[in-house]
C-alpha cells in the first residue's frame, strides 16, 4: 500500500529488496541449498586487493607505465617486500611499512626529484615528498616550489663558532642540480610546507 510501491521509479526493484528482509528477520536454521550455492559463488568471486585498490581512470602522460614486454604482469607493481628492514617502526606512520615507501628509501635524490616534479598528483609523488622531507631532511618551499636543504658544516676548533650553516636548493628549472643558495638567502619558515 506504500506509495513507493506504486512509484514506477522503484516498483520493479522494491519487491526484491523487501524479500531480503524475511531472511533478516527470520534466518533459515539450516542453510538451504540455494543459499549454500550463493555463498559458494560469493567465495569464488571474492574481491581481492586489486579490486579494493584506488581507481585511476586518467594517468598523466609521464606517469603512464612505460611500455614493457607483454610478459610483464600488467597489474600495478605493488609487490610485497618480505624482509623487514630494521627500524621500520620508528616513523610510525602508515606508509613506512609499504613496499613502495621502502623502495623509495633506496632511491637517490635525483630520482626522488624526478618523481616529485613529473608525477604530479600521484601517490608516488606523495611518497617521494615524504621520503625527501622525513628521511632526507629536505624542505619544500611553497613560493618558488623548490626543495631546500640546510647544511651544517662542523668548523675546526678555535674558530669563533662551532658550526656554519649553509643552504642549498634543487634547481629543477634549469640545471637539474642542487645548488648553493646565494648568501642573501633568508630562511622564512612560513614559506615552507608542513609535510
Amino acid at each position: 500500500s506504500k506509495r513507493a510501491f506504486k512509484n514506477p521509479l522503484f516498483n520493479s526493484e522494491l519487491p526484491f529488496w523487501l524479500d531480503t528482509k524475511n531472511t533478516l528477520v527470520q534466518p533459515h536454521d539450516e542453510m538451504p541449498a540455494q543459499m549454500a550455492a550463493q555463498l559458494e559463488s560469493s567465495l569464488l568471486n571474492c574481491p581481492d586487493s586489486l579490486d579494493a585498490d584506488s581507481p585511476y581512470l586518467y594517468r598523466k602522460q609521464l606517469s603512464l607505465p612505460h611500455p614493457t614486454s607483454i610478459f610483464f604482469p600488467n597489474e600495478p607493481i605493488r609487490f610485497v617486500y618480505t624482509f623487514e628492514t630494521p627500524g621500520d617502526h620508528t616513523s610510525g606512520d602508515i606508509y613506512a611499512n609499504t613496499s613502495l615507501a621502502k623502495i623509495l628509501t633506496k632511491f637517490d635524490l635525483d630520482t626522488l626529484f624526478f618523481i616529485f616534479y613529473h608525477y604530479q598528483g600521484t601517490y608516488e609523488q606523495f611518497l617521494a615528498a615524504r621520503e625527501l622531507s622525513i628521511n632526507r631532511d629536505w624542505q619544500f618551499n611553497k613560493k618558488d616550489r623548490c626543495w631546500y636543504y640546510k647544511e651544517i658544516e662542523k668548523l675546526p676548533p678555535g674558530m669563533n663558532k662551532s658550526e656554519e650553516e649553509s643552504w642549498r636548493y634543487f634547481d629543477y628549472k634549469k640545471s637539474w642540480l642542487a645548488r648553493r643558495c646565494n648568501s642573501d638567502f633568508v630562511y622564512n619558515e612560513a614559506d615552507f610546507e608542513k609535510l
Binding site: 581481492d48 579494493a52 597489474e75 609487490f79 613496499s99 613502495l100 606523495f126
Partner: protein, 47 residues
C-alpha cells in the same frame, strides 16, 4: 583448538615485538590469499 596465529599476524604486518604498527589503514583484504598486492592507502597532497 584454534590455529597458530603467527603466520596470520605476519601476513597482517603485525610485528613480533611489541611495537604496534597500524595495519588497518593498509589492509589489503580480510584473507592473506586475496591480499596479493598492496593497496594504495589514503594520502594527502597539499595544494
Amino acid at each position: 583448538l584454534g590455529a597458530d596465529l603467527s603466520s596470520m599476524l605476519h601476513s597482517l604486518g603485525i610485528p613480533r615485538d611489541s611495537k604496534r604498527q597500524a595495519v588497518l589503514a593498509t589492509f589489503q583484504s580480510p584473507w592473506a590469499e586475496t591480499s596479493r598486492s598492496e593497496v594504495e592507502p589514503t594520502f594527502y597532497i597539499p595544494a
